[in-house]
Assembly symmetry: C2
């Protein structure tokens, strides 16, 4: 009898135990690390890469060769910058390499884009969808249509990343709850789409995806630990800890907006009370603007208040910044995420608002962390979530951890 019981059910993957490393896995893993290095540092020559990794040049030479053969990288012109010796040939992602489809929702539409490893959007599609009322079936159909528009005919894609404004179970690829997109809940987004399209589909929360967008294509490139915070209607956070997007055990995490900062505070839409969301979002801002009888209170935003420039508007923005700082400082004090990238509403406030938030956050941080705190506004902003969807695919394809 053949000793078939000797072979494991799933290759290299235990039910929940340790996954041992294989000689074959080494190849994939090292390739991933090299690619990650390109993301972190930009174009690099083989020799620079070898120094960075602390390995002989021959080793990365072989790795690079494989990536060149796969069409992932391409050689650029040698940079003659006057140094002695043979100039290195920088390598960079090939123009249409590592294609992935990024899907996002918003403003009555599903948007899909074809994104390359360079972060370039090679194709865009928009399919109308009543996000607030769409049934799961309608939603799935619209998403599928948008994807098919941008899906290249012949070139393969690494996968599809779908970004949802809601709570996701990322291991199951399922949306658990979403106020803005109720039709996505329990729709089996990942499994259904994967089946219909024959591609791996990844689903994740928008705030987390934004963090990945910053990590792969934004200002957070090369920063191992940072927080990305979405402001506006709600508050969401994506945490990149030690180079990895933090998802907890199954992705049901990251509800910074629903951490309590006001004891016995106002009721929150989540059912709890005194959540950070109740004092640092647009609804709060507008309620305060009404109280202060500011003009256009009902539609106030950081941008509009900044433009107004009145003392009342200014005072309100300062209060807003202070309230935002509470949650941000809690993040810094707890996790030491000294770099924070802001998205959404506050970006409209520009440098003055950034400076206010940074100052207020520093004030609330422990002394030994204070000086290191850096708050920045996302340069990607509106595209962050969509690029994050692409980052979702890249991170999964080139996963560094085993």
């Amino acid at each position: 009898m053949p000793d078939s019981a000797n072979a494991p059910a799933r290759r290299g993957e235990g039910p929940d135990g340790p996954v041992l490393l294989t000689t074959h896995l080494i190849g994939d893993l090292n390739r991933s690390r090299v690619l990650q290095a390109f993301c972190d540092h930009g174009p690099l020559s083989r020799a620079e890469l070898a120094r960075l990794a602390g390995v002989p040049r021959a080793t990365i030479g072989a790795i690079i060769q494989g990536l060149l053969d796969d069409g992932l990288l391409e050689e650029q012109e040698p940079d003659r910058d006057g140094k002695v010796g043979k100039p290195g040939r920088p390598l960079w992602f090939a123009p249409h390499s590592a294609l992935s489809v990024a899907v996002g929702f918003g403003d009555g539409a599903v948007r899909a884009s074809l994104v390359s490893a360079r972060g370039e959007r090679l194709a865009d599609a928009e399919v109308p969808l009543e996000t607030a009322t769409a049934t799961p079936a309608a939603l799935l159909a619209a998403v599928e249509r948008a994807i098919r528009i941008v899906l290249p005919r012949h070139a393969p894609v690494l996968g599809v990343g779908v970004v949802v404004p809601g709570v996701c179970d990322t291991t199951a690829g399922e949306v658990i709850g979403s106020g803005q997109l109720p039709g996505s809940v329990g729709a089996g987004l990942a499994t259904t789409l994967a089946e219909r399209l024959g591609v791996t589909v990844l689903v994740d929360n928008d705030a987390r995806a934004q963090a990945l967008g910053e990590k792969w294509f934004g200002d957070a490139r090369g920063i191992p630990t940072f927080a990305s915070v979405q402001t506006g209607t709600g508050l969401g956070v994506g945490l990149v800890l030690a180079g990895q997007l933090y998802r907890g055990d199954d992705g049901r995490t990251g509800e910074l907006g629903h951490t309590q900062v006001v004891p016995d505070g106002a009721a929150c839409r989540c059912g709890l009370a005194g959540c950070w969301e109740t004092v640092a979002t647009l609804p709060w801002l507008r309620a305060q603007a009404r109280k202060a009888r500011l003009p256009g209170a009902a539609r106030a935003t950081t941008a509009s208040l900044t433009a107004a420039g009145t003392p009342g508007a200014d005072a309100l923005l300062q209060a807003y910044a202070d309230n935002l700082a509470v949650g941000l400082a809690n993040l810094v004090n707890l996790l030491g995420t000294r770099r924070i990238v802001l998205h959404g509403d506050v970006v409209g406030g520009g440098e003055p608002m950034r400076a206010r938030i940074e100052a207020a956050t520093r004030e609330r941080c422990l002394g030994y962390l204070r000086a290191d705190v850096q708050v920045t506004l996302s340069a990607l902003d509106a595209d962050a979530a969509l690029l994050g969807a692409a980052g979702l695919v890249l991170s999964e394809t080139w996963r560094l951890a085993v």
Copy 2:
């Protein structure tokens, strides 16, 4: 000329870039993973281990052989439990294997223990030390003396773990700030001791070490993501995320006690205001007890109030539990750490206090997390930090991440 520039300065370790995997590294890494599996699951046979890891039996057979040769593991008696087939021989840590020295401070003394991989304390030492006033030199001398008492003459130790009540920079092995042990700040604990003893020395915060104690030897064995919280005089937290102790980029993290939960709240000893510490520690408890004119207010603890059993004491304990729950729930909501292990003062309250805290925490957690929240009292309690010091060494020796 020999092409010496070909060889990297440090083997397999880049300045800050990617560290590539080596065939040789695979061996160490897989050995570590196997050992971690023993910690997570208890004694296992080769076949069980192979199933767990999803690899052929021959593979772990070879790995195990190496560990047996090194004296780390030993075979136990086959368990004849009536199943068909050849019974497996369970393996377990050898009695005096993987020795490490654990060092802790407290009650006017330095304590050192020799700890095995089984979590057994093979030797103990105590050297008196005025913790509040000792100079760096006196502190170093006392620590060195305590270590030398338990340090085995001939058997080698993996390392020394020192647990300090204060903020640590774990990469530099330096204490940055400590109210209870001011002499440790800037004393160069790790480097000096390592030089004097010729052993690797690791320094870390007590709350974080407690988490490692629970992970290696306590109830948190095998749980990938959990929080360990120290209660009493202050509040500290150790986070184990995805199987790894979280330290941020340099260890200056984990100040859950100084996250703000009361806007414009009472001033905290850290210089901030409204910190969680100001409403969920013994100083707060005693102040409240005084206000309520409870007997023995100045020395009140959860244990004493529980023993009192009066309505007033009961109400205060409930308030204490509620306040504790705020910070715990924030942790759950933010990071999804559904398992929480409590240490210190509240352990004295036993099951009733545990149930109170758990219930109060659940109330403040988001609906989809609520049911999963489990708050437990540490079974190690007083030993947790010391065993955590041993865990520090084991985690560093058998590091799973590359």
